[in-house]
């Protein structure tokens, strides 16, 4: 797999994932006139400010009113537009979920929802602004697609692919500067998980979002102590790439899922649903343990709430003993 050659170096580039969203929108603005962008008073933070300046006629500032924004997007989609709804995930889809359910998902309209500031690594803003439930509430909606990219480059690809993807689409974005894991040549296809690293067949680590980086670091360190794992970037939570996940379970016989989201209802749960029905194997879940976050630095929070490299390695060692 073609990954960033500087991946394991200290000076690996770190870029906020949301930047990839803004870059994707700028490319779309040039080539697809159907694309319109909406925000609820978060143009700069969600990286849509540049789009709004270049194409004001294709931009709608909705004010601090996320429910209305989602409904307006449904109307725009019904009129032939491809709207991107941009806010923080705690507000949209957090507050606009009823509109996402009825006006968007039930109507199967191509509304694209970007939920920024997802995960505990939002940091100092604290628990109110750390979306840790959005994967659960979006993947449960029929006809909704859910994608969690691992870095800014993959986010740009997901923004472009999600725009032409038929139907409703949720894109989860993180706030912090995130190590760049992929390159422009790394394959990305909605609904297709990618094996990013393959050292052996002891355990399969299935990760999504920024923690794909931590998973790769953990895998490398585990190799040095003799535990050989594969690392899968499972960016599409729904529709999930069942084939890749089942094959990994068959090959390794044990799975650890890694995500910056509540363990309950998140990506790991979705993987467990697939494996329980097709090829049950011992699993460990790295994620938020049914708790709210708090203020702090991202690394401190990942450590405290059990989503650090150390915790991933612990989960791998534990699941090996259960094989």
């Amino acid at each position: 797999m073609k990954l960033n050659p500087k991946l394991f170096e200290a000076e690996v580039e770190r870029v906020p994932i949301r930047n990839g969203y803004g870059e994707g929108l700028m490319e779309l603005g040039e080539k697809d006139k159907r694309v319109v962008v909406l925000t609820a008073d978060l143009a700069e933070s969600t990286r849509v400010l540049e789009f709004s300046k270049k194409w004001p006629e294709r931009f709608i500032e909705c004010g601090v009113a996320e429910q209305n924004m989602m409904g307006v997007a449904a109307g725009l989609a019904a009129a032939g537009k491809i709207p991107w709804v941009s806010s923080y995930a705690v507000f949209s889809p957090g507050r606009s979920w009823d509109q996402a359910r009825v006006a968007v998902a039930y109507s199967n309209l191509p509304v694209k929802i970007a939920g920024a500031h997802a995960g505990v690594s939002v940091g100092p803003d604290g628990a109110t602004h750390q979306a840790l439930e959005d994967i659960a509430i979006m993947r449960v909606l029929p006809q909704m697609t859910v994608v969690v990219p691992c870095d800014s480059i993959e986010t740009k690809k997901a923004t472009l692919a999600g725009t032409v993807w038929a139907g409703p689409f949720y894109l989860r974005l993180a706030r912090e500067k995130t190590p760049v894991v992929t390159t422009t040549e790394t394959p990305f296809e909605i609904g297709k998980a990618e094996v990013f690293q393959e050292y052996g067949n002891d355990v399969a680590i299935v990760a999504c979002g920024p923690l794909v980086y931590q998973s790769l670091i953990a895998a490398k360190e585990l190799k040095d102590e003799g535990v050989e794992v594969i690392v899968i970037n499972n960016h599409t939570i729904k529709p999930m790439d069942k084939k890749t996940i089942i094959e990994a379970a068959q090959k390794c016989g044990a799975v650890v899922t890694v995500e910056e989201h509540q363990v309950m209802g998140g990506m790991g749960s979705a993987v467990a649903e697939v494996l329980a029905q097709n090829f049950p194997v011992p699993m460990e879940f790295v994620g938020m343990p049914d708790s709210f976050g708090e203020s702090g630095q991202p690394e401190e929070l990942l450590e405290k709430y059990g989503m650090s490299v150390t915790k991933i390695k612990e989960a791998v060692r534990k699941v090996v003993t259960r094989k």
């Binding site: 004010g63 429910q67 409904g71 449904a74 019904a78 009129a79 032939g80 109507s107």
Partner: protein
């Protein structure tokens, strides 16, 4: 101005629509009687007077006016009117709320020709109307957007987010029609959550306001005409209606908001509605 002949035609159509609403609700065994009957004259004017650019023969024409029903629970009235206008066969009306029917208990987007939105959870329709109106205005299209809301539904805060945005954007191609019937499930609106002074509220949000008798076809048509002539801002037509209109024992009673008639009540209602003389349409 509607001709005398046209008004007569609309009266006849609205009466048949009301009869079908009663028959549908009886067959379904559940559903919302009062608002469906109360808005029958407005629905009739929207789809059958020629004031609005919608046609059953070409229901998804790109240039059509959009009619969005935000208060989806009064869909028996919408369905009966669409069937009356020829959007689908009237026989299908009796499948309301039954397994496999296109006539869902609350409307599903494009399940039937003419259904422009999924609706039922209140406070969502105006936002969708705004989306359609923005798209039309910015693309230089001439279609208009009509959104029908109930008065009780204005208690949903999301409506006021929408009313603010439409006022900000001066969406003069958008018309909201509020069914001011003063009732909701638990009682009278002014007891549950006072809405007055309703027209002042809309004016304060930069809307033009027209108040009408929602059972007077000429007033309804004139209000639609007037809204078309206003280029400064969006218009709200506050249509004063009588819930349960046409059926004496239902009129004005909030108890009929969310329930259907039983057989005896349906026969009585149909006798009052005259032409069927107490016969259920499917018999």
């Amino acid at each position: 101005m509607l001709s005398d002949q046209k008004v007569k035609e609309l009266e006849t159509a609205a009466n048949e629509i009301r009869e079908n609403i009663i028959s549908m609700l009886l067959a379904a065994g559940s559903g919302h009687s009062a608002g469906s009957l109360g808005m029958a004259d407005v629905f009739t004017t929207l789809y059958l007077s020629g004031e609005v650019n919608v046609r059953a023969v070409d229901p998804w024409n790109e240039g059509r006016d959009r009619i969005i029903l935000s208060c989806g629970h009064i869909c028996p009235g919408l369905y009966a009117t669409l069937a009356q206008a020829g959007y689908f066969p009237k026989e299908e009306l009796m499948t309301l709320r039954k397994l496999g029917s296109r006539l869902q208990g609350h409307p599903h987007y494009r399940e039937l020709p003419g259904i422009e939105n999924s609706g039922g959870p209140l406070g969502q329709g105006l936002a969708q109307g705004i989306g359609q109106a923005i798209a039309g205005m910015r693309d230089g299209k001439s279609y208009r957007v009509y959104t029908i809301l109930s008065d009780g539904e204005l208690e949903e805060g999301a409506n006021w987010e929408a009313i603010m945005l439409a006022g900000k954007l001066n969406l003069h191609n958008l018309t909201a029609i509020v069914d001011r019937n003063n009732i909701q499930i638990d009682g009278y609106t002014e007891d549950i959550m006072p809405l007055q002074p309703l027209t002042d509220k809309f004016r304060a949000f930069n809307w033009s306001v027209v108040e009408i008798d929602g059972h007077n076809f000429r007033e309804i048509a004139d209000a639609l005409d007037k809204a078309r002539a206003i280029f400064e801002n969006p218009t709200v037509i506050v249509a004063h209606t009588i819930p349960g209109k046409g059926v004496d024992f239902m009129e004005g009673k909030f108890e009929w908001h969310g329930k259907p008639p039983n057989r005896e009540e349906a026969e009585k209602a149909l006798t009052e509605l005259r032409s069927l003389g107490g016969k259920i349409a499917t018999e």
